[in-house]
Amino acid sequence: MAVASIGILTLLTAAVLFGPLIWRIPINEIDFTARLAHPSWDHPFGTDDLGQDLLARMLYGGRISLAVGFAAMAVAIIVGVLIGAISGISRGSVDAALMWITDLFLALPQLPLLLLVIYLFRDFLKNWVGPEGGVFILIVLVIGAFRWMPVARLVRAQFLSLREKEFVEAARALGATTPRLVIRHILPNSLGPVIVAGTIDVAAAIIAESTLSFLGLGFPPDIPTWGRLLFDAKDYLDIAPHWALFAGAAIFLTVLTINFIGDGLRDALDPRRVM
């Protein structure tokens, strides 16, 4: 299952990376004569209501959606594991303080804060790396910053139980330093749930990106991320189902394969696995 998933995901990734080099129709070529065309050889995925080629838009949008998904997951996992690990291994005030911060972030109202962050930094980042790059960094950071808390809690919970386990005590008795204990013994054992949480995060990030686009805070409206394609297509479900189907299928496949891969990884990385 996991192997098949890796195959499909690689295929998807390769398609969005190299597809635009082969399929050379521009993403914003408006052709009123081919509005809402069903899939054909000219337009394998059909067209939208301005006659723009959906395959080209899917390929281009996939780059953004996948990149946002993976980058946001990476941010969430790194921050989450770091905070969770420090908090789980140290006792007393550090643990308490870090958990307070986690609770604080969990309690923050996301939407108003998002608005604030974007108003504060959008223009600055836009001047620095351009409108698309700026929004990309912002979205990755914002989604990452709001998704690390569950990971941190998971990691801390794992740490609290693992560090009392016999094998950890044995390692400590043998004179292992705390960093070594954490990196060699506890962290690998606690990664299973983290990987699963991470895979879910990829899916959540792709969806969150489309939410932001919907609110006008994401990418400019003419950049066809998968979420936006789906959003644009929703009113046309009964007239042109192909429009929503392909974008929906792409998100579905990505999320599903990543979940399977996550499952597979957890099994593969499980130190207690019986060979």
Binding site: F32, R35, L50, Y119, P220, D235
Partner: protein, 596 residues
């Protein structure tokens, strides 16, 4: 169009060579309103037509439940506080004005016994006063009689700044006095050509003195009747959940015979335009849905279900693009887009002219809006040409390229034109609404072909149209190079509509961006003509001035009209709904009935 041409046209209407309807349509085409056209005719001796609103039922009641859907829910039921049309419509079920505006610019009496005119001594030559005669025998829902005291009270209530009524503009410059129990006189401080504003239409609904007298001024928001209206309308209040539902039942003592037809009425709020259209046209769950901002393609498809039809009435609303005449990037005295700056690109007339040529209005109309809008250039001078409209504006990429080339904007290596190191690159914003995003895409593509790089931006409507002084993304801040929205003609008199280009009305920090001149376009000639029009009593001369104003605005190309947007609603197949583009959707709710 000159004054003389207008007079010729009016003479044609008098002799019957031109129908009243086509005269009104021509006036709309040059940017005036139907009510204004009606005023011109009335002043020139063509009487307002007696509007016959068809009504078949021969007794009140028996119609069952009328279900209306507003995808923006009603939030309050006091007409003097009603900001949005949804609240005005909700109030209109229970409250009524003295008169309303029909589709052809005729005043239709509601609580007035007759429409004031020179013949019935309602109007004076000097334009300083109006006398309204009220209908006798009208009762409030609680049984109290409706009299001139109520009308005078509404003036006192609305003009008090502490009441904070949105209708204040209609009342503050007038003086209202009781002549007898059923006659009131409205006196103006200066000659007022457009006298039918106070007590008429949208802002004219009358609330009862006996329930609101204690809540005038600062306590206005505490009145229990704000949420439990007691009016004179065809339906009596039953229940109201703000943001959700309004319920009413038949008023057995209604002042018009055999009305209303329905036993109960319900206005449900919430959802979005597409699902509202579905509920009326496809599933038939509701009888009427308001404001169908939906692609025509979808509406046509839904109409195919045969449950209902789309109803379209002409209005003065215009979807347009405005180019910023100030520089949104430079900050002067703590505000961006200050009138002290000039836009680095658009100050060159060639750029504005090129952009005008790059807007494919015909395609936008044909492929996005369909029946729900008609492309317009709206600066036509002769009425004959107005009739062959939709051909005057031009879409021509080569010509735009040539103009830019001639003005010294040369293409660089990346295909973007530049001059003096300034690349032709701008940000174009609008609210989030599927047809608008598509319009943006079409214009962006055409601009690309002419070497102009456009960055699109879309802002969620509740932010874009909010009056939040702290939010830089509102349309009144206009911290952007170009923006697009639909400007509505909330008042039938173009005086209010056209004041949005006056120099001294520029939106800025000082007035918390509440100034109506959002584009910050400044033109001395415009200001002068507007001032004259304010005082001009002759309706025809005044109309000619407004047409001139319109021409000044659009020929300068800072303002680029795209489409006229009519009022589009979805109506159940068997429902008879008299609508008007110059008044609320529910202005004739008493005359709605179901064909059997």
């Amino acid at each position: 169009m000159q004054e003389r041409e207008l007079r010729d046209l009016i003479a044609d209407v008098k002799t019957g060579r031109l129908s009243r309807r086509s005269f009104v349509q021509q006036m709309i085409a040059v940017g005036l309103t139907a009510p204004m056209a009606g005023m011109m005719l009335a002043q020139s001796g063509v009487a307002m037509a007696q509007t016959a609103i068809p009504y078949k039922p021969t007794k009140a009641g028996g119609g069952g439940l009328l279900k209306i859907l507003y995808w923006q829910a009603v939030t309050l039921l006091n007409p003097h506080f009603a900001v949005g049309t949804k609240d005005q419509d909700g109030s209109r079920v229970f409250y009524e004005p003295l008169a309303g505006w029909d589709q052809e610019g005729n005043l239709v009496p509601v609580l007035a016994a007759e429409i004031p005119s020179k013949e019935n001594n309602g109007l004076t030559e000097d334009g300083l006063s109006v006398v309204w005669k009220l209908k006798k025998g009208v009762k409030w829902h609680d049984g109290m009689p409706f009299t001139a005291d109520d009308v005078v009270f509404n003036w006192e209530y609305a003009r008090n700044p502490e009441t904070a009524a949105v209708s204040i503009a209609s009342y503050k410059d007038a003086k209202v006095e009781k002549v007898d129990d059923f006659t009131v006189r409205v006196t103006f401080s200066k000659p007022t050509p457009f006298w039918a504003d106070a007590f008429v239409g949208t802002y004219g609904m009358i609330i009862p003195k006996h329930l609101f007298a204690d809540y005038i001024g600062g306590k206005s928001r505490d009145a229990p009747a704000n949420l439990k209206p007691v009016g004179t309308g065809p339906y009596v209040f039953v229940d109201f959940k703000p943001g959700d539902i309004v319920r009413g039942k038949l008023n057995p003592n209604y002042h018009m015979p055999n009305r209303p037809y329905f036993d109960n009425i319900e206005i449900k709020g919430g959802g979005d335009a597409v699902s509202a259209a579905r509920a009326v046209l496809q599933t038939g769950e509701y009888d009427y849905a308001w404001n169908m901002q939906v692609e025509d393609e979808i509406l046509t498809k839904l109409e195919g279900a045969g449950k209902g039809k789309v109803n379209i009435v002409e209005t003065g609303n215009i979807e347009f693009i405005m180019l910023n005449s100030t520089d949104p990037a430079a900050e002067v005295d703590g505000e961006r887009a200050s009138v002290k700056t000039k836009h680095p690109l658009f100050s060159d007339p060639a750029v504005r002219q090129a952009i005008n040529l790059l807007i494919d209005r015909a395609s936008i109309e044909k492929f996005i809006y369909g029946r729900t809008a008609s492309a317009t250039a709206n600066f036509l001078n002769a009425p004959e040409k107005v009739r062959s409209k939709n051909t005057k504006f031009e879409f021509n990429i080569e010509k735009a390229n040539a103009i830019l080339e001639a003005a010294g904007w040369k293409k660089g290596g990346d295909g973007i034109r530049a001059k003096d190191g300034k690349p032709l690159r701008f940000v174009y914003q609008t609210s989030i609404n599927a047809p608008r995003q598509k319009t943006q895409a079409i214009i962006k593509q055409a601009c690309q072909k002419a070497g102009i790089d456009v960055e699109l931006k879309s802002v969620v409507a509740s932010v874009f149209f909010s009056s939040d002084a702290a939010n830089p993304d509102t349309y009144t801040h206009f911290y952007c190079d170009a923006q697009m929205y639909n400007t509505t003609m909330t008042q039938p008199d173009p005086g209010f509509f056209m004041n949005q280009y006056l120099s001294w009305r520029a939106a800025n920090k000082e007035n918390k961006w509440q100034g109506r001149n959002v584009s910050r376009w400044q033109n001395k000639e415009y200001d002068e003509i507007y001032k004259q029009a304010e005082q001009e009593l002759d309706a025809v001369k005044r109309a000619a001035m407004f047409i001139k104003l319109n021409d000044l605005v659009v020929t300068d190309n800072y303002i680029q009209p795209l489409l006229r947007r009519p009022k589009v609603s979805a109506v159940a197949g068997n429902l008879a709904v008299p609508l008007s583009g110059w008044d609320n959707d529910l202005w004739q709710i008493a005359n709605w009935y179901r064909e059997t």
